[in-house]
Symmetry: C2
Subunit: 388 residues, 2 copies
């Protein structure tokens, strides 16, 4: 832990089979008007919508609906949400869904009282809110993004072919989040494994940076080991409560600022994946999986010691008698085999990317500078080419 | 993560060489009157007192002093602090010191406006505060207890020969804590290694309980590995910033509620150590070290699988071809050797305990019921006998 940093994460979490009861504690803290935000309507089939509405009514809330939030929520939809929140005079935005719904709720929450163009202010200029922020609460139904306990909000501007995430400060974090692992049971397998890989990528992209000895990296190794073990169980038996609950908790701690403390971070898998998504609208975790092996093969020579540590501490590679690079490469091979077993999409062709999109995807890739090697445009192009 | 639980930790941390600057952010949030709490005066020699007072004055605070807080802070001293805080009409209690000073500040904070006897209410009946709580901030100068980011307060009642900890809810947590690893450089070696073992014991006492697969245990293993590595460096070179900063950060996360989430915990090493301290006034971490090996030798047969996991994942014991119990015992032997290398006190005789105190220590030991084996009075007596 070399650098100076601050840490504060005020989100209150209610975890477990009875977590929804937490709404009874939380709802009375806010005013009457609740904007109820959700996605494509699956919560109306699995009973979660009814349970939430019943609790809202029991707490005498006025409910204003804002459904239809899509995966990769669009800025056009955010603009619609802003209008709905204004019309409702919303005192609380209650997001019921996965990371897209939570991200969307945060984007609306900082924009309702913002007099500037929200896209320009938050996602191009990366400014912090200077206006009143509507408090957000989450009821999580899909696991992966960590949006339930952080300030992250990823929004796609289709007109500009940009999918950009802004990590807001703690005043934008959800005030509370309801984490019931059983609410994730009905998520289709494709979404479940996509979420699992999103979690893994969050941890790895914070882990694969820096050369110091940092407690954060030891915590990351712990989270990775727990995630791999529980994912192996969940793909065999998606109704294993213990495994699903460990995955849910791991997701939260993979991206709530803790494991980045005191260290640099990389984030290029997300930048590459988001560029792919901006052109294909593919599922987030799958875009990460599809560029991971080419990107880490590119990165490994610049951070060989850390990749070897990863191989030993996470994948149990025995380093005895092997050169460090061989240990490191063996770790990546084991990860690749595991990803294939999980059923992740391992190339961007299968996500709908075409060679005609290449120039555009290169242009859409934001280049971060915290990793072992700062990419140039040619590196981006080569990694994307390897990902077809 | 099987059970239902809530998680919320609102303490704001400022970490690093510039951490004290955080006071400029925090002090303006509180009223004029600050009760400045500290220990035996070492902060007046190493410049920390002067730096804090300068910042308090720059923020136009009225300073009321309450020095002389002893290790194992006494309830008699708490009563004195209550009177001082009342006389000062304190708006903020600023604790500058180690865990004892932070614990003391919290005990005072919940007692100033309490009309009942605070010892009876909080440390015998374990009730939560029903009165106004004075906010507490910490400037940490010694590492180990985790008091900087939790609701724990351990107070000794000498008249009753009881040293008892109450873990208060999040409203009693420090509002902010200043964590500058350099502030811990002047702590004598005996206190440094005692603090390191306090951290280790916090992690182990949460780890050695439960048989489920729980993400918390993976996080604990990460913290343990980081702690062992950094302790090895710090005992060779106490001025190694990286090592001291990792130890400081590990201490905070070892006891801020995270690694106990979703699982049972044991805590008998603390109960035994606190009984020893109540009769000897010995340094906290050393009392834990002195009873650890006898207690874990007692406990191992009831939780062999977890002790074997500990041996493999934390101490690198190769399990190939060995019975589980042998793997488990090898882990304990490696820990014992490491404790000796650190210079920990390995028996209670060296801490001043005598056979005449045995009955009293047995009587002072609170028995917790979360571990692999709930002790009876005879078990307590035997483990203490083994600890002489």
């Amino acid at each position: 832990m070399i650098g100076n940093f601050t840490y504060c994460n005020p989100t209150k979490l209610y975890f477990g089979k009875d977590a929804l009861e937490g709404l009874k504690e939380e709802l009375p803290k806010y005013g009457k008007n609740v904007l109820l935000v959700y996605g494509g309507g699956s919560i109306k089939k699995n009973g979660i919508y009814d349970a939430v509405v019943a609790l809202l009514k029991a707490c005498r809330k006025e409910i204003f609906e804002d459904g239809g939030v899509m995966p990769n929520p669009s800025y056009a939809k955010v603009c619609e949400g802003i209008e709905r929140a204004r019309a409702a005079k919303a005192d609380l935005i209650l997001a019921v869904g996965g990371g897209s719904v939570c991200d969307y709720a945060k984007a609306v929450s900082v924009s309702v009282h913002c007099e500037e163009d929200a896209w320009e202010k938050y996602f191009i200029r990366f400014e912090e809110p200077s206006c009143e922020i509507i408090p957000v609460g989450c009821v999580l139904t899909m696991v992966g993004t960590g949006s339930e306990m952080n300030g992250g909000s990823v929004i796609t501007n289709h007109a500009q072919k940009l999918k950009i995430g802004h990590v807001f400060g703690e005043e934008v974090f959800p005030k509370f989040s309801i984490l019931n692992p059983e609410f994730t049971y009905t998520v289709p397998r494709y979404q479940m494994v996509s979420g699992i890989y999103d979690i893994m990528s969050h941890i790895l992209e914070q882990y694969f940076s820096g050369t110091d000895d940092n407690t954060s990296d030891y915590l990351s190794e712990g989270l990775l080991r727990s995630l791999i073990r529980s994912a192996d169980i969940a793909i065999e038996n998606p109704l294993d409560y213990e495994a699903r609950s460990n995955i849910m908790w791991t997701a939260t701690w993979a991206l709530n600022t803790l494991i980045a403390k005191g260290k640099t971070t990389d984030w290029m898998v997300h930048m590459l994946g988001q560029a792919v998504a901006a052109h294909t609208d593919a599922t987030h975790g799958m875009t990460l999986a599809a560029v991971t092996v080419p990107y880490y093969n590119f990165l490994l020579p610049y951070g060989t010691a850390k990749f070897a540590r990863y191989a030993e501490n996470v994948w149990g590679v025995d380093p005895a008698g092997k050169p460090q690079e061989e240990v490191a490469r063996e770790g990546l091979r084991r990860m690749q085999a595991w990803m294939q077993k999980l059923g992740l999409v391992m190339n961007i062709t299968d996500l709908g990317a075409t060679r005609e999109m290449l120039d555009g995807m290169v242009k859409s890739t934001l280049i971060m500078d915290g990793g072992y090697k700062v990419m140039d445009e040619n590196d981006v192009r080569n990694v994307l080419l390897q990902s077809f």
